[in-house]
Symmetry: C2
């Protein structure tokens, strides 16, 4: 019921008088983009050509300074925010205050990207962006970046690390602002841009930044430009994110690699120990068997359940595209199971495979376990359930390499290193005035209601923001195509999604919130 | 009973008149080595500095030609044996016929080495041999190779790929021959040297070589210089080897890597599928659960059981050295369980660990399974048991990448690629006259009875020799220290073992077989 009311309000805003400003903004963004397509692609490609793994301090600072300069060039007051830790990537902050504006919105994106093994990339190297006529899997061919005036197809894609996650966000926000400036359209709200430099590294310092710059970052809402739109291609507005953390787990055999002939059947294989341990954590259906794993989950409300029920059903198409005969959890819908905590083998290794494989009993086996959390879960508590499970399987659990004495005393030893970073899930109410205004602004830009979801599957450090900044509304408006190979090799963005994004964000920068908030 | 007779015969040969030649040979080898220690180390180091992975055709040919030249220089008729396949590494063949000799022995070693990841090496790079004052784990320090006349300690070690496995074999055989030549001592038997170039690649072409050069390689016995001596340091004579093969197994998730947040709980994780599958193959005690795995094993005879019972008990020392609180198979003795077939995780990988770990659901998980076989097992039969087990776990088993249709039809798919090479186990009777003569020759060189074993844990393609060349006696006389990191990073050989080896092989080249054979 409540959801239907939400829908009616959102659609009615399409025809409200204050929407004229938004329609103008969308047109301005479109015409700006149409005049500058080739130039915009080159600008974006230049941004993508800068290596941006958060742990590389030199690389990441170059990115930050480059983006700060872009902001200045586009007429924004911009600076780098830093904290005491010299290893912490700076945040890029931009501010544009509008005389008479009563609302302030922080637009968030992150400029760092996931680490990657260049050897895994097939289309290009991670930081050598290239243009293709379509997705590589769809037979896309490499072409030159076009000169000014050349025609550009929306199905073209740019391949490169962070093409979608999340330099697309940085670029979209910047360009939406530039398009308003060019058309002489004043935003309806005070704009603050916050571009983080270590989201993919777990946002370990975000809290310290927010505490230090609490006053500067005060706002009614944060709008997050990160993640993919709905798989059907329909735009998405999401009111929550899963939390995330991870743990590294190492189990041991002998203190050195051994010849598998001279010692096989006698010296324990750490790979065998690891597969037994991991096998105990989930059933064949993907259900987590660790005690209390699902216990503290906060159930969804009626509004949230209705939003999920109303979202396009896309599982069958997805299965066909991904080559899946069967999914986990007894075939329950994707949008449904995303509201539960997960446990994932991010990576696992013992010895070598392929051309480096050898006839040895390896001395250690390692796994990185990724955890996603939902509302009600707590990072520390969830990791502790995992640790206790490992102990319950008979392992002596430590947080460093075992000593010789420990090796001789304990048949089963596990080194368990929980991630330092990581954060809880977050959800904003879907019926706040600002929530409705955001849905309206996206509808205006696309003349279609977006899919609305209580929770995206992915994670953003939003809980850190609410815990630190006194609960602003946090709403995610993603722009990337869903098949963007985010976090993987051959990451890409569809050009049409980039163009749509500019219009959507121009619309968001001219939104008006009805009533009280 | 039979074993005690064997022992008495062997020891009595120490005092037989024809042993005088052997004692002279041992003295000659020792004095030759003492005069040339520094030079010998440099020669050996030069041999180790040549990359020797069998799949690198250019590298491997350089090794072969270099060794052929060494043989010529030491006064042997030498040539490279080749077969039609231009990718097949050549064998180096040397021949020295002794007028009046009635017996012919082929001395076997291999000059190729295991593939290795240079990043795993801590002491040096694989093909940059260095000299240490002791094992690295024992605090050995890197020192320069000494100049002529400098003192050399037996506990020094040379580190480098194939330092023990098996350029030590090539070098030992060559040098033993050179020492006899230098002293003017004529061997008692016709000598043939056969140095293989693809043993670590599974000896895929050995059979073709043996068939082509059947007449050239006709002999009463083959003496194999490969593998480590007993862990106690006592020399070893082994009358059999385990067979070996392997299989690559790949299981699948979606057809591309997926974001673990947007798809976690829904898209199957191939790592999870692999751990469940592997976990079904062995129990927590290391016992293989695959049907009929142990069924066709040919039991050991009384003589073999006695030899094992008489061997030094060394398990406790080994466990202490390797940092093991518990071994597999309920703590049964190492020498006992080596007479059973094994199944080993040689290497396993999905996604990435360490600094390249990412929040993804990987698209595939791979494992290389190593199989060791004992007398009675058959390579094809053992692999088929494994394949059937995978099928019995519900997998659709194929020998190539799955098609899209197959992915959509079968929830569980396994690509199963058995190794092309691989061979069965082999055993020579311990009481043949030539067997006793070899035990005698080793005893003479060390003035101590060697440990005798029916089977070494490691593998050599000896069954291919017996199947092709009409059943010559095949006896392995290893020389390497057991803690040589064979097949692993930081491979090394103890200098004292190299020196002992030269004397043992000089003794073997002057052995006399009593009675009929």
């Amino acid at each position: 019921m409540k959801h239907r009311i939400l829908l009616v309000i959102a659609l009615s805003t399409l025809f409200a008088s204050h929407m004229i400003a938004q329609t103008d903004a969308v047109s301005a963004a479109r015409s700006f983009r149409q005049k500058n397509e080739a130039k915009l692609l080159r600008e974006f490609s230049e941004l993508l050509s800068m290596p941006n793994v958060a742990t590389n301090v030199t690389d990441i600072r170059k990115n930050a300074e480059y983006i700060r300069q872009l902001l200045e060039n586009k007429g924004m007051k911009a600076r780098l925010l830093t904290i005491d830790d010299p290893e912490a990537p700076p945040a890029v902050f931009g501010e544009y205050l509008v005389p008479g504006a009563t609302k302030t919105v922080v637009f968030y994106a992150h400029y760092d990207g996931q680490p990657t093994d260049p050897a895994d990339w097939t289309v290009t190297e991670p930081w050598k962006p290239v243009l293709l006529t379509n997705a590589a899997e769809q037979g896309g061919k490499k072409i030159e970046f076009p000169m000014a005036g050349g025609s550009i197809e929306p199905n073209w894609r740019i391949y490169g690390r962070s093409a979608s996650d999340d330099k697309a966000g940085v670029f979209t926000i910047l360009t939406a602002f530039a398009s308003l400036k060019a058309a002489g359209i004043e935003p309806s709200i005070n704009l603050k841009f916050y571009f983080e430099g270590e989201e993919e590294a777990g946002s370990a310092n975000l809290k310290a930044f927010l505490i230090k710059y609490k006053d500067l970052l005060k706002a009614d809402a944060w709008i997050i430009c990160d993640g993919p739109v709905h798989q059907s291609g329909r735009k998405l507005v999401s009111f929550g994110v899963r939390g995330v953390t991870s743990a590294e787990l190492t189990v041991y055999g002998a203190n050195r690699e051994l010849h598998s002939g001279h010692y096989g059947n006698w010296s324990p294989n750490p790979g065998e120990r690891l597969v037994k341990l991991l096998s105990s954590m989930k059933d064949a259906n993907g259900r987590v068997l660790i005690g209390d794993w699902y216990k503290d989950v906060e159930p969804l409300g009626d509004l949230e359940l209705k939003a999920i029920a109303d979202a396009p059903k896309y599982d069958d198409e997805l299965k066909a595209q991904l080559g899946l005969a069967k999914t986990e959890n007894g075939g329950r819908q994707l949008l449904d199971v995303l509201n539960e905590p997960s446990l994932n083998i991010n990576g696992m290794k013992t010895g070598n495979v392929g051309s480096l494989a050898r006839n040895v009993i390896p001395s250690r086996a390692e796994v990185v376990l990724g955890l996603r959390l939902v509302k009600g879960n707590d990072v520390r508590r969830q990791l502790e359930k995992l640790r206790r499970h490992i102990e319950a399987q008979g392992f002596y659990v430590i947080n460093r390499e075992p000593t010789t004495d420990e090796r001789l005393k304990h048949p089963l030893i596990a080194k368990f290193i929980p991630e330092d970073a990581g954060y809880n899930a977050q959800r904003t109410a879907m019926d706040l005035p600002i929530s409705l205004a955001v849905i309206g602004a996206v509808s205006t830009a696309r003349t279609q209601m977006p899919v609305t979801l209580p929770t995206m599957g992915g994670s953003l450090p939003l809980s850190i923001i609410t815990e630190t900044l006194g609960d602003p509304a946090l709403i995610t408006v993603p722009i990337a195509n869903y098949d963007n190979n985010q976090h993987a090799a051959d990451e890409n963005i569809r050009i049409g999604n980039l163009w749509d994004g500019i219009e959507i964000y121009a619309s968001l920068m001219t939104l008006t919130v009805s009533g009280r908030q």
